[in-house]
């Protein structure tokens, strides 16, 4: 865990958003995962963040009204 300069949990928190966005480099990813494997505190908070994102995503999702789909089809160029 040599990459952690000071408090490993602080560093881990900073990596949470980029971790969940899947934009960490391989080296950073390995660093975050090795910390998460051994730290229940951070692991729970990562899980919570992931659940929270999923909740928001599902909560704001709406199906397309079928009539709208028909209206869009009607906008196609006639053959």
């Amino acid at each position: 865990m040599s990459g952690f300069a000071f408090d490993p949990c602080d560093k881990c928190e900073q990596m949470m958003q980029p971790y969940l966005d899947r934009v960490l480099t391989d080296v950073e990813l390995a660093e975050a995962e090795s910390h998460l494997d051994g730290c229940d505190y951070c692991a729970r908070r990562y899980r919570f963040e992931e659940d929270f994102r999923r909740f928001v995503r599902q909560a704001v999702a709406v199906p397309m009204p079928p009539e709208l789909k028909e209206k869009l089809r009607a906008l196609r160029t006639p053959l």
Binding site: Q14, R47, F48, E49, Q58, A59, V60, A61, K71, R73
Partner: protein, 204 residues
């Protein structure tokens, strides 16, 4: 196949033109079908950009009308989804954003864990299981919190967290630097979490 030498110049030209027309029509049909296949995703974001279902439907119809009209400006092989969302977000801006509420300038918590911590604190005497904390929030709480985000932040949050665009795609769609995408995304997510944390604590 006829060689050029055996064909009258005039008929060669008209045959070529007819072939070109047929190719054009085929490309256009393919383009329109591919675009229509993405319409559910376009509507999903449009509904959260617009204040009402009617406005969202108008916005999506305008988006597809413009896309179909300008299909030739789409470079085949590039990202059609990003191209469509660029039209959508541009139209949304043109539509004239209503007067924005002043962004909620409550000091932002430093920690990315603050929602967790706040909810955990408020639930300390109950079940400490963090999964139940999110269950206290309703679907409508999330819709309202998202609608209250300042628009610049909301655009980025919607493109990345709802429509799954990369930072770089979102930057191209909104025509802003990637660093701006990242800062608006992080700030927008934190404001969203702040609103929802308040709601959850009020409801506990």
């Amino acid at each position: 196949m006829k060689t050029a030498a055996t064909v009258e110049p005039v008929s060669d030209t008209s045959e070529g033109a007819a072939r070109q027309l047929a190719t054009d029509a085929r490309d256009r049909v393919r383009f329109e079908e591919e675009a229509l296949g993405l319409s559910d995703q376009v509507y999903g974001v449009a509904r959260r950009l617009a204040g009402s279902r009617e406005e969202a439907e108008d916005l999506v119809q305008e988006t597809f009308a413009r896309a179909f009209r300008s299909w030739r400006s789409f470079q085949p092989g590039t990202n059609l989804r990003a191209w469509l969302f660029r039209i959508l977000t541009n139209l949304n801006i043109d539509r004239g954003r209503r007067i924005q509420r002043t962004p909620d300038m409550q000091p932002l918590e430093e920690s990315d864990y603050f929602l967790y911590n706040k909810l955990e604190e408020s639930a300390a005497d109950q079940n400490p299981d963090e999964r139940r904390v999110v269950e206290r929030l309703s679907q409508n709480d999330a819709v309202v919190a998202l609608a209250e985000l300042p628009h610049d932040f909301r655009d980025v949050v919607l493109l990345v967290d709802l429509a799954d665009f990369t930072y770089s795609d979102a930057a191209q769609i909104l025509d802003i630097p990637i660093g701006t995408v990242m800062s608006r995304l992080h700030r927008g997510r934190r404001i969203l979490k702040g609103h929802l944390a308040e709601t959850a604590v009020e409801q506990s």
